[in-house]
């Protein structure tokens, strides 16, 4: 295999490249993220890094020029876009966004930077929370239920609260609004990632764990040699999906009206919003193109190479018949510059660091945290103190919220909110059923044709990533022209963003049907409904549940932007909880905001418990293919 001939050091460099695309990208935040960078750089344990590579090539080629050029370009753009985050911001004298089409690349860069900063934070949180939950029973009892609830809370409803909070934190700077946007993306993607990491941490095979124990690996060695690599594969897929979901939030959070003020952050989402406001169709068109371009580039330049690289972290000991490939990865792997940097900069640095740290540890004791009892105590104290502080703050918050609500919201209003919730629930279910009816046959057809599926599946993924909320105003224009009532039209708007999850899960399900089952069905002459009933529907059911659950979860968030939309001067409003939340957020009516968001969370948790969890159980019990 070609892969083998490249030395072992070389294999680990795409990771560093990835960090240069994520970690180092936010140069402004380098201090904060430097630690993470170091941490993630060494999943290939530094202790091993000095082993001689199997083969040294020692030649710079044109590939290196390309790669170096790319790296410096990256560095420059991070500095360039990063500067914009810190500009002065004055609420009273906010200048409107520039309208020239030529500003789009800059705005795209700002949006992209926001995404990666949020992702960086998500990654740090994932490692910290996921690790704690996997290692400590106490932390697990706290973290898992918290995540379960938090991922049901509609993030968009919170924007108003977080924007005001962060603006107070950074007065006179745009950084506050920037943080609020980043926070919205962060909350949109982090829970899923954390849960995924926790899950793969606790499902590491027992023999691999025992080997780590019996060879006396320290916590850190265990983390870098066993735990991170063992979860790398699933963490990466999870990250990619979550990142795709993040575009929706970045587009929405860039242009927000809160407390009767309209705030626009420079970015693609806000450019789109203002283009629609002005009726600038060409500008809107280019904004959509730019968004697609940015999504596809992220996919091609970051996620695909990472997935190709992470193939070696798969657990099974058999060689995959079809390893994922990426042309960017091939280029990065072919470049000598990383190897050179590794042996001349990185490894000496690691050796030096290790020499520095070696002194405090008494030699020849088996590592088991011998001299670190004090540190352990300090660490525990810090964690407990922080936890206590968060707990107290949360309690105070909840009490304050309940008080405000008690004073300001009557039972009638509460009843009304509940009623609106049922309307939105109806809409979400309607969307799920319709999308299922339409996309299941299409998805199965695609999945049965591998050549079509190879093209269609990534397309569906990109479609799922694309923030359709950018285009809502245009669609609403069509509604206005054709006089489609918003109560029905909003179903379409919701479906536009979330149906894709159903589609690509159904495709994946159809592709996963083993050939022998298909052959058997053909041998016994099963066709038409009989074929669907006996083979296809049961086989794709688990995949459908995943897709439908994701779609429905996204639909609740989408309803906040889909039930209330503006086209020029016309505002269309549907009866539903989403429109209500959007409305009260705009007005800044805090008691009602709290009430409506709580209600929506309640609906989401209830449908999860009553519907999706049961369907998952059913799929797990009856329709597993193994």
């Amino acid at each position: 295999m070609l892969k083998r001939r490249i030395g072992l050091q070389h294999e680990q460099w795409p990771l560093l490249a990835f960090l240069w695309a994520t970690g180092v990208e936010e140069i402004k935040l380098r201090l904060a993220l430097g630690a993470l960078c170091l941490a993630a750089c060494s999943p290939m344990n530094p202790d091993l890094s000095h082993l001689p590579a199997a083969e040294h090539r020692g030649r710079f080629g044109w590939l290196d020029v390309v790669v170096l050029g790319g790296l410096f370009g990256l560095l420059w753009s991070v500095l360039h876009f990063g500067q914009g985050m810190l500009v002065r911001f004055d609420e009273s004298a906010m200048q409107p966004l520039e309208t020239s089409v030529w500003t789009i690349p800059y705005y795209a860069g700002r949006t992209l930077l926001r995404m990666w900063v949020a992702f960086g934070f998500s990654l740090v949180f994932t490692f910290a929370a996921g690790y704690a939950a996997a290692k400590s029973r106490f932390a697990r009892a706290l973290i898992l239920p918290a995540i379960d609830v938090l991922q049901s809370v509609p993030v968009l409803g919170f924007l108003s609260a977080t924007v005001t909070g962060f603006m107070a934190l950074f007065p006179g700077s745009l950084l506050g609004v920037e943080c609020a946007s980043i926070f919205a993306i962060f909350t949109g993607q982090v829970w899923n990632m954390t849960f995924g990491f926790y899950h793969s941490m606790v499902t590491i095979p027992a023999d691999l764990q025992e080997a780590a124990t019996t060879f006396g690996l320290s916590r850190w060695q265990r983390f870098t040699v066993l735990e991170v690599p063992a979860s790398a594969h699933s963490l990466l897929w999870n990250s990619m999906m979550s990142f795709g979901g993040g575009w929706f939030f970045v587009a929405q959070s860039e242009a927000i009206s809160v407390m009767n003020k309209s705030i626009k952050l420079p970015g693609l989402g806000s450019y789109m919003a203002s283009a629609v406001e002005r009726g600038d169709n060409l500008g809107a068109f280019w904004a959509v193109v730019a968004m697609l371009f940015v999504i596809v580039t992220s996919d091609q330049f970051v996620w695909r190479p990472l997935i190709a690289w992470a193939d070696k972290f798969k657990m099974e000991l058999t060689e995959a018949s079809q390893a994922p490939r990426s042309w960017v990865y091939e280029i990065l792997r072919g470049a000598y510059v990383f190897e050179w940097l590794g042996s001349n900069v990185f490894h000496p640095m690691v050796d030096f660091l290790r020499k520095l740290t070696r002194r405090d540890v008494t030699p020849s004791t088996p590592v088991s945290g011998g001299g670190s009892r004090i540190w352990k105590g300090v660490f525990m104290a810090v964690v407990c103190g922080f936890g206590l502080w968060v707990g107290v703050q949360a309690l105070v918050g909840v009490i304050a919220a309940i008080r405000t609500v008690q004073q300001a919201v009557s039972l009638d209003t509460l009843g009304k909110i509940l009623g609106l919730g049922f309307l939105t629930l109806l809409r979400v279910l309607c969307m799920t059923v319709l999308a299922t009816l339409i996309w299941t046959p299409i998805g199965v057809w695609i999945g049965f044709k591998p050549s079509v599926a190879r093209i269609a599946q990534p397309l569906a993924q990109i479609a799922a990533s694309f923030p359709v909320n950018m285009t809502f105003p245009i669609v609403v224009g069509v509604f206005v022209a054709w006089r489609i009532p918003m109560n029905w039209g909003s179903i379409l708007l919701i479906a536009m963003g979330t149906q894709w999850y159903l589609l690509f899960n159904v495709i994946a399900g159809a592709m996963a049907i083993p050939n022998d089952l298909k052959d058997a069905a053909r041998t016994y002459g099963l066709r038409g409904w009989a074929l669907w009933r006996t083979l296809i529907l049961p086989a794709i059911f688990p995949f459908w549940v995943t897709g439908a659950c994701t779609a429905a979860g996204g639909a609740w968030n989408a309803s906040i932007v889909a039930e209330l939309a503006t086209w020029g001067d016309t505002t269309l409003k549907a009866d539903g909880l989403g429109a209500f939340i959007a409305d009260v957020t705009q007005r800044g009516d805090i008691p009602l905001i709290i009430c409506s968001i709580a209600t929506m969370s309640l609906f989401v948790v209830a449908t999860n418990q009553l519907l999706w969890r049961r369907l998952y159980g059913l799929a797990e019990r009856r329709f597993r293919l193994d």
């Binding site: 295999m1 083998r4 030395g7 072992l8 290939m44 344990n45 202790d47 091993l48 000095h50 082993l51 001689p52 590579a53 199997a54 095979p205 023999d207 691999l208 025992e210 080997a211 780590a212 124990t213 019996t214 060879f215 006396g216 690996l217 320290s218 060695q221 040699v225 066993l226 690599p229 790398a232 070696k312 972290f313 798969k314 657990m315 099974e316 000991l317 058999t318 060689e319 050796d351 070696r358 540890v361 030699p363 020849s364 088996p366 590592v367 088991s368 019990r621 009856r622």
Partner: protein, 452 residues
């Protein structure tokens, strides 16, 4: 040459000092239903310097647990683990393990995997490299440095596992069924190499402690063999084995040692009973079982297969030959024979297995007749009455309730497995079935289900 010696384990080893030992170790696990299952009962076992000790036992006898206690991966429920006379705290620094499943990290190369064995040691890079290189060289893995585990064969993978265990220069090498995931030829080859490693005088390695269910493997390699009997695990026979290396498995000395072990296991698992009246059709008289007897976890199909083989090849009576004929491990064969025996389809005088009259009748019966006989025989087993009594009163029983009852009746067995086997037998006998989603056992209502 060989001297079967009853529990005095140190007879021939008095000179050599003990490296690590278990003293009066008992270990229990919590099983389904929350009850305790005792897997080890008062184990005394010592690994001496210079010996190759094999612990022989069927699967589920607790031999891996002994290995885990000795290496510090598991703590005994009671009793002590000593290493050079001192109580063991944490991981045993003088021992390292070779795993049955290899337990290699798929994302590390051969070289990096071996280096994992040195991670807990503070040493200079140069020393480390040299040690890794040395271990790789020693086990014949040169040229494989940069390969990933998934790219090499099973035998090579296990070599990596051995190199990783040796690189930290342990005094005891612990092999946990290290050869059982390999094919016959590879395993044989690797066994020779391991013996060679142990003979080498220039390494720190003094002793090997291996755990296995393969009798010939133990006889081929070990200088001392301890046999562990299950439910709960306790040490039975201890044998010294002074045959010279390399050992020829065809030699009479080798064969006679294997035979001794076979006989010991057979007599202890299938004890000869006093002659009994031949069973009369349908009558529930049989050996009085006034205490609950466990049933082996054997599917019905294998019992039927055994009976067919016994009918078709009348010459085949020796249990050891049967084991060879059906291509199963001796331990498994014993389990199948035992299952057939408690159903009274076969009789086992000494090392022989013979069809009983009932077994003959069963084989010549048609499907319904077979089911009826099987059903009657199940009714003779006391353990089944746990469920049968319930089903007299109600149509279905909660599985957890049954599990609890099994756990209290058979404290050394895994209740889940017992229930699984009972349901499988009960299904064949037309008595009961299992509802997986509700987790209940329910009675089969059937027109054939006559009650005498």
């Amino acid at each position: 040459m060989l001297q079967p010696s009853a529990p005095a384990p140190n007879s021939a080893k008095q000179g050599s000092p003990v490296i690590a030992e278990l003293r009066n170790v008992t270990k229990s696990f919590t099983v389904a239903g929350g009850s305790e299952m005792k897997v080890l009962d008062q184990i005394d076992l010592a690994v001496h310097e210079g010996e190759l000790l094999a612990l022989l036992g069927q699967s589920g006898s607790g031999k891996s647990t002994i290995l885990r206690c000795l290496t510090g991966l598991a703590q005994p429920t009671s009793g002590r683990v000593l290493c050079y006379g001192h109580p063991l705290e944490g991981i045993n620094p003088h021992a390292s393990i070779v795993f049955q499943t290899f337990a290699l990290y798929p994302w590390l190369t051969v070289e990096q995997n071996v280096a994992v064995g040195l991670m807990s040691k503070r040493m200079s890079s140069a020393d480390r490299d040299a040690a890794v290189e040395n271990a790789i060289e020693l086990i014949g893995l040169s040229n494989y440095h940069a390969a990933y585990p998934r790219e090499i064969s099973g035998g090579m993978r296990q070599r990596v596992g051995i190199a990783r265990a040796l690189v930290s220069e342990p005094e005891i090498l612990c092999l946990d069924e290290a050869f059982s995931a390999l094919d016959v030829l590879t395993a044989e080859n690797l066994r020779h190499e391991v013996i060679g490693l142990w003979h080498k005088k220039d390494t720190s390695l003094k002793s090997i402690f291996m755990v296995t269910h393969n009798i010939e493997e133990a006889v081929e390699m070990a200088t001392r063999i301890c046999i562990l009997f299950p439910r709960p695990g306790r040490l039975g026979l201890v044998l010294e084995n002074h045959l010279p290396y390399p050992r020829d498995s065809k030699s009479p000395e080798f064969q006679s040692l294997v035979k001794v072990i076979h006989e010991t296991i057979t007599t202890l698992t299938l004890p000869d009973h006093p002659p009994e009246p031949s069973p009369v059709s349908g009558a529930p008289i049989s050996r009085a079982r006034n205490r609950m007897e466990s049933i082996p976890y054997v599917p019905v199909g294998q019992i039927l297969g055994l009976l067919s083989i016994l009918r078709d090849t009348p010459d085949l009576t020796n249990i050891y030959d049967i084991s060879n004929e059906i291509g199963k491990e001796f331990g498994e064969t014993i389990g199948i024979v035992k299952a057939a025996e408690i159903l009274e389809m076969v009789d086992t005088p000494k090392n022989d297995v013979r069809l009983t009259e009932l077994g003959q009748r069963f084989l010549s019966a048609d499907r319904i007749g077979r089911r009826q006989i099987f059903c009657d025989q199940i009714h003779n087993l006391r353990i089944f009455h746990i469920i049968i009594e319930y089903l007299k009163l109600q149509d279905e029983v909660d599985a957890d309730q049954i599990l609890k009852d099994i756990a209290s009746a058979l404290p050394y067995d895994n209740p889940e497995k017992i229930l699984q086997t009972m349901v499988a037998w009960g299904r064949y006998g037309g008595i009961m079935d299992f509802n997986a989603s509700a987790r209940t056992v329910f009675a089969l209502k059937d027109e054939d289900d006559s009650d005498e």
